[in-house]
């Protein structure tokens, strides 16, 4: 396998468990014990009620494309040969939104609010990325 040439995530102490979850093919979200709210990206304090009591919960992996763009310009050599590729803001069923790619579909067939579900890509031995594909 050739060396992976795209950027890899630089986890923080607060996001490390999220990326560990991805390696197990689980999409984890922080959920507040006090207000039951979810948030993303991970952080030590619930942005809804400021509680610091919360748990990692496995998300359903289902969501919708809130909006998306199609990259036609290479900003990083790792993406040469990849354009056009789709990046999107995904509205998760649980409430938070996250940036990701939409894969397994031609860009011109996508639309805002289209249902999608998570797929995992083991890009290196150490790193697994979460992406989204049109829901069946």
């Amino acid at each position: 396998m050739s060396e992976y040439a795209k950027p890899l995530p630089y986890p923080t102490v607060e996001s490390e468990p999220f990326w560990e979850g991805c390696k197990r093919h689980e999409l984890l979200l922080p959920q507040c014990r006090q207000c039951s709210g979810y948030w993303f990206p991970p952080g030590s304090t619930c942005p809804h009620c400021w509680s610091t009591e919360w748990d990692w919960k496995k998300a359903s992996g289902r969501g919708r494309i809130h909006s998306f763009g199609i990259y036609n310009r290479v900003y990083h050599p790792g993406f040469e040969g990849e354009i056009p590729y789709v990046f999107a803001v995904i509205q998760l069923e649980e409430g938070p939104r996250m940036v990701s790619n939409v894969v397994n579909e031609s860009p011109d067939k996508l639309d805002c609010d289209q249902p999608v579900e998570v797929v995992f890509e083991d890009v290196t031995e150490e790193v697994t990325l979460y992406k989204f594909a049109p829901a069946n």
């Binding site: 795209k6 950027p7 890899l8 995530p9 630089y10 986890p11 923080t12 996001s15 990326w19 990206p41 942005p47 809130h66 909006s67 998306f68 763009g69 199609i70 990259y71 036609n72 310009r73 900003y75 990083h76 050599p77 790792g78 993406f79 990849e82 056009p84 590729y85 990046f87 999107a88 803001v89 939104r97 996250m98 940036v99 990701s100 790619n101 860009p107 639309d111 805002c112 609010d113 990325l129 992406k131």
Partner: protein, 390 residues
């Protein structure tokens, strides 16, 4: 609520460095030239300056100290602000508040950056900038999400989905600003742009094409803020600061409806309230135009048209010099050049002074709205300038 700062302070001088490709100067050097020109424009001297507000700190640590050193200044008030492109209008407001607090009397507010040279000096520099800035972090770069165009692309597509906004309507923003730039000898792009050329341009991040994006230039601009009373005795007609306001939706661009209704709504409401006017009283708008989409949102958020109607409004020719709301009459950052909103303040002042010839002057311009926008897309700033303080 009354506000005792209304009309109490004014912009007394404006200036800029050489704009465009200025490989022989660095950002601090260009800033110094712009400051010198602004002070001379006001009819003041170095000895009068006792305040300095610059925009930092992504270029250098303690930015205002570097600028102050280049100008040989000792002052009683100075700092660097950190609201991205919303910093410049914020700087003018901070100058007014500092003078009002008795901390200083004459404040230089400015911005300068070698943005063209730094990304176009050679191919290595270009790649280093792109990779160096973007390659560290998470929840973005690993998905090929780089730079500002992405944020405005998702905003544009969502706006199109909800309100039926078209690519052609966005194009009329770029075409109108280019029309203005064709009358501005300092503009980076002066060749008129047709809607056909716009629609056939290559995509950068679809739905945004080349002409939806502002042009990075080398350049600096600065203004001088002092009391209205003093400004009246100086060389130029004062541009009175009638109101200012801010809206910083720090929760994030992707949260709630922030990519469709921005902090410009709160910024505008506060600025109008302080000035005691409404959007119907504004004669010209100088809006922060990093991308056409950001102009579209601000036309709505500042109340020049209803939410969702920015597309038809721009498409009607409203932004042209003889339109309903002549906007970015220098060509803006899309065509004159990107200096993080500093040249928008300069142009607002020049319009209020009736300084331009008939081909570029907004007829009888009494009131200008100037805006800033930036940081991590969260921050908005607005300012109302007027020819009369009454």
């Amino acid at each position: 609520m009354s506000n005792n700062l209304r009309g109490k302070y004014a912009i007394a001088g404006v200036g800029h460095s050489k704009l465009g490709k200025v490989p022989e100067m660095g950002p601090i050097g260009m800033f110094a030239v712009a400051a010198r020109n602004a002070i001379a424009d006001a009819g003041l001297t170095k000895a009068d300056v006792d305040g300095l507000v610059t925009r930092g700190p992504d270029d250098v640590y303690c930015h205002h100290q570097r600028v102050g050193a280049a100008l040989g200044l000792n002052v009683t008030y100075s700092t660097s602000t950190d609201n991205g492109g919303a910093s410049q209008v914020l700087g003018v407001a901070m100058a007014c508040m500092a003078i009002d607090a008795g901390l200083c009397n004459t404040v230089v507010v400015g911005f300068g950056r070698d943005t063209w040279s730094r990304t176009h000096r050679n191919e290595t520099a270009r790649k280093r900038v792109n990779i160096g800035i973007q390659n560290q972090g998470e929840f973005g770069p690993e998905f090929g999400w780089f730079g500002a165009p992405s944020n405005y692309a998702v905003s544009a597509r969502r706006h199109m989905k909800l309100y039926g906004t078209t690519k052609e309507q966005l194009g009329h923003i770029a075409v109108a600003f280019r029309d203005h730039a064709s009358r501005n000898p300092n503009a980076f792009f002066q060749k008129p742009l047709t809607i056909e050329e716009y629609l056939s341009a290559r995509m950068i991040v679809d739905p945004l094409c080349l002409y939806d994006c502002s042009i990075y230039i080398d350049g600096a601009a600065a203004v001088v803020v002092t009391s209205a009373e003093r400004a009246r005795d100086l060389k130029r007609p004062p541009a009175y600061v009638m109101g200012f306001g801010f809206g910083n939706r720090l929760s994030g661009w992707f949260e709630e409806s922030n990519m469709l209704t921005t902090g410009a709504k709160e910024a505008g409401e506060a600025a109008y309230r302080m000035a005691g006017i409404g959007p119907e009283d504004v004669d010209t708008a100088q809006l922060y135009d990093c991308f056409t989409q950001m102009v579209l949102l601000q036309l709505e958020d500042y109340g020049f048209c209803k939410k969702g109607e920015g597309g038809p409004f721009a498409g009607s020719g409203a932004l042209l010099l003889d339109g309903a709301m002549p906007t970015n009459t220098s060509g803006g950052q899309l065509s004159e050049g990107h200096t993080e909103g500093m040249l928008q303040i300069v142009e607002g002042v020049r319009q209020i002074r009736h300084e331009h010839g008939p081909d570029r002057q907004v007829k009888d311009a009494e009131v200008a709205l100037v805006s800033g926008h930036g940081g991590n897309t969260a921050c908005q700033s607005a300012m109302i300038l007027a020819r009369e303080a009454s």
